[in-house]
Amino acid sequence: MEGGVITINWTLLWQGLNMVIIYLLVRRYLYKPMANFMKNRQDTIANNLKTAEVERDEAQKLRAQYEESIESAKQEAREIINNARKRSEEIISEGRRAAQEQGEQIIEKAKQDLEQEKEKVFKELKDEIALISVRIAERIIETKIDVALQRQLVDRYLKEVKKVS
């Protein structure tokens, strides 16, 4: 109760000292740890963001690469399929042509064979006719024949020849 409210006493020094101690405590135990922590966190976040950005760019590049390679693979596949189709068409048409050629050859050969056979038959027939003619001559010689009979014989044999040929 001494001295009233507005007096200066030892409290002034105490409070000055206390304020200095408060300053030191706040700086040592609150300000510095908090400031350091917040700075570190800021740096960490900034770093993380930068790293994320770099990684994202890289991922985008990779994706573009993959898409490109997929596209080229598709292109290649298309080419392979087209080539195969073309080749198969060629094979088919070639086969068809070969078959046709072969067929034609067979037909040709058959014709030739037929021709040969015909000629052979004709030859045999001629021989036969010659033989028959000789026999006719023999028969004419054996029997006395008059002109009329002779004509009759010749006609008859000619008819026979015609029938045969």
């Binding site: 109760m1 001494e2 001295g3 009233g4 409210v5 507005i6 007096t7 200066i8 006493n9 030892w10 409290t11 002034l12 020094l13 105490w14 409070q15 000055g16 206390n18 304020m19 200095v20 101690i21 408060i22 300053y23 405590l25 706040v26 700086r27 135990y29 609150l30 300000y31 510095k32 740890p33 908090m34 400031a35 922590f37 917040m38 966190r41 960490t44």
Partner: protein, 215 residues
């Protein structure tokens, strides 16, 4: 609460340890414990206490950056300590403890520290030009300049002291006349609002004076 300051220990008839000093000690212990508990385990994802501490740090940084400039960020710890102490002291009325800031010795000590800081940093930043500044614009104005300089700690200390003592007086009267419910409004206004405003004014003026002396 009492208008008068209680003395616990006297030294040759002069108050040596008063309730102002003991309350300040308790505030110091609380501040230390709170600081330790917050900064002991800081997480990347902050909890409530850490969020409040970070808000405080951001606020102080913002205030110092805007009032003093980025080159004077090393004043931030002092400004933080000053604001925390004055703020907690001003809020002491809420738990029916006499504000340490309602003692002229406290406010004078704080204003004195501010005054010393102003002179020290002014001298350090401007060297001889700072002393020359007292003789400008005309040399015979030196006494006026000196008085205006000395008025700084006096006005600073009496403003805070007067406001807080006024709060105590009005609150005591309020409890005398309407002891129920109404004092709640008084506490909100005189302890919270005035306490916050006066803290802000004290800290802002401290920052402004230091900056003026340095630039």
């Amino acid at each position: 609460m009492d208008i008068d300051i209680r003395t616990f220990v006297e030294l040759q008839g002069v108050p040596f340890i008063t309730n102002t000093v003991t309350t300040t000690w308790i505030i110091m212990i609380v501040m230390f414990a709170a600081s330790m508990s917050v900064t002991r385990k800081l997480n990347m994802i902050p909890g409530t206490a850490q969020q409040i501490a970070e808000l405080l740090m951001e606020g102080i940084h913002w205030l110092v950056d805007n009032t003093m400039g980025e080159d004077k960020m090393n004043f931030a710890p002092f400004i933080l300590a000053l604001s925390l102490f004055i703020l907690i002291s001003n809020f002491m009325g809420l738990i029916a403890v006499r504000h340490p800031t309602a003692d002229l010795n406290t406010t004078f000590a704080l204003a004195g520290i501010t005054f010393l800081l102003v002179q020290y940093h002014g001298l350090r930043a401007k060297k001889l030009n700072y002393i020359k500044g007292f003789f400008q614009p005309l040399p015979f104005l030196f006494p006026l300049n000196l008085i205006s300089e000395l008025a700084l700690p006096i006005s600073l200390s009496f403003r805070l002291f007067g406001n807080m003592l006024g709060s105590i007086v009005i609150m005591i009267m309020m409890y005398m006349f309407v002891p129920i419910l109404v004092p709640i409004i008084g506490h909100i206004y005189f302890d919270l609002f005035i306490g916050l405003i006066q803290t802000f004014i004290f800290v802002m003026l401290t920052m402004t004076f230091i900056t003026l002396a340095m630039d």
